[in-house]
């Protein structure tokens, strides 16, 4: 069962964080079709947030077609986010891990690594367009 957490300083509304965490879990394969999400009560109490916030998040996930409510039983995952689960890209992950280690050894901190990565992403997208 997935466990949620809340980042009070992220600037993202709590319900959006919950949605994002479910999507992230789906991408990583931590949640698969048929898994049950925590009940509204469980999620709200563990996060110490208003149950309506959790309901709102679950409703959005429902609208996205990712989950469905089975009345009286709970909320269940009905779809994954992409056909290729990230777990399948073992070699890609390993080379990325190596690159991160290299970058760290070169003295880059997390912020610089992130900036570098984003710039590459952007420029490659620009190249694709061009």
């Amino acid at each position: 069962m997935i466990e949620f957490h809340l980042d009070a300083r992220s600037g993202m509304a709590p319900y959006q964080q919950v949605v994002q965490q479910v999507r992230h879990a789906l991408r990583l394969g931590l949640l698969v079709v048929g898994d049950q999400l925590p009940t509204v009560k469980e999620a709200a109490t563990s996060l110490t947030i208003n149950p309506n916030t959790v309901s709102k998040a679950y409703k959005e996930l429902e609208l996205l077609g990712l989950v469905a409510a089975r009345p009286g039983i709970g909320i269940f995952v009905t779809a994954t986010l992409s056909n290729d689960s990230l777990a399948a890209h073992g070699p890609l992950r390993q080379s990325l891990q190596r690159w991160v280690t290299q970058a760290r050894r070169a003295g880059l901190d997390d912020e610089s690594i992130d900036a570098l990565y984003k710039e590459c992403l952007r420029s490659s997208a620009a190249e694709d367009v061009a």
Binding site: L6, A8, P14, V40, K41, A44, T45, S46, L47, T48, I49, N50, P51, N52, T53
Partner: protein
């Protein structure tokens, strides 16, 4: 929409001093309402008026459609936890539950016992020997075991350590999740309210400064920074909440549902704490302002 608390020009006076004045509210049901304001602003007065521990000096208040405190039925529908959670020091926890059963026909003793057990409390322990957090949990148990439609909590976590505070709020959330009970809780700590509440009432200087759904309030309040402006330069449908000026710069907080078109301003969103602070400082600076309406 049925209002869970409805007040019209409500006021309470002690001698010449008004502890609360011209309070007009229509709080919808099914919400967790945060009542926030500085100490002595009138929060406790408002809550006591809503449970029948005080009589209005002016105006009226109706809770769940009835006058607070008047009949046994009315009293049964509202659960109250007072500030500092008073309990009888000489009574054990079990005595308190018995007290609850004897005084409330709707008292769910089984629910109360289960909750006490799940909290790890000993029924035979005397209430005077409990920690602040444990007493708060006992008081909450007594209030919710009545199965009320409205829970009124007066600064329940003010003197609790962070863990006790979290556990108390979790208890409240569990009740809301289970039974859709309306809750109104007061605090002078905004951070607590931000996570748990979806409706906010700000009381400063014995007056309600603003009340509304938190999402709507956050969407409609903006901080504007720009070169020094005079007050008269604001468009009419923007309500000024607070302003501060240096010799070069003006910073104002406004409430408006329309987009802000003046390019001279840099517009920023506020978080809840900033919003409350804006009202607290604004109220201190300004005199009589137009009554802010209620948004449901």
């Amino acid at each position: 929409m049925t209002a869970v608390i409805e007040a019209n020009g409500l006021g309470k006076r002690y001698g010449h001093k008004w502890a609360l004045s011209e309070c007009t509210l229509a709080i919808p049901d099914g919400k967790v309402v945060g009542l926030v304001g500085p100490n002595g602003a009138g929060k406790t007065t408002l809550l006591h008026l809503s449970v029948g521990l005080l009589q209005p000096s002016a105006g009226s208040i109706s809770v769940l459609g009835g006058r607070p405190g008047t009949t046994a039925t009315q009293l049964a529908r509202v659960g109250f936890v007072a500030q500092d959670t008073p309990t009888r020091a000489g009574f054990s926890i079990a005595d308190h539950l018995r007290f609850g059963r004897w005084m409330n026909p709707n008292f769910d003793a089984k629910l109360a016992e289960e909750r006490i057990e799940s909290l790890g409390l000993d029924l035979r322990q005397k209430a005077g020997k409990l920690s602040g957090g444990q007493r708060a949990q006992l008081a909450l148990t007594l209030a919710m075991a009545k199965r009320p439609e409205l829970l009124v909590l007066d600064e329940p976590v003010a003197s609790l350590d962070p863990l006790a505070r979290r556990e108390f709020l979790q208890g409240v959330i569990a009740v809301v999740a289970d039974s859709g009970t309306s809750v109104i809780l007061s605090s002078h700590l905004v951070a607590d309210l931000e996570r748990v509440c979806d409706y906010l009432v700000v009381v400063v200087n014995s007056r309600v400064q603003v009340a509304g759904e938190i999402d709507e309030l956050l969407a409609s309040h903006h901080r504007l920074t720009g070169p020094r402006h005079e007050r008269a330069a604001l468009p009419r449908d923007q309500q000024l909440v607070n302003e501060s000026h240096t010799d070069r710069q003006s910073t104002i907080v406004v409430r408006t549902n329309d987009p802000i078109l003046d390019p001279a301003w840099t517009v920023e969103q506020l978080d809840l704490e900033d919003l409350v602070l804006a009202y607290m400082t604004g109220a201190a600076a300004q005199d009589r302002r137009p009554k802010l309406g209620v948004h449901s």
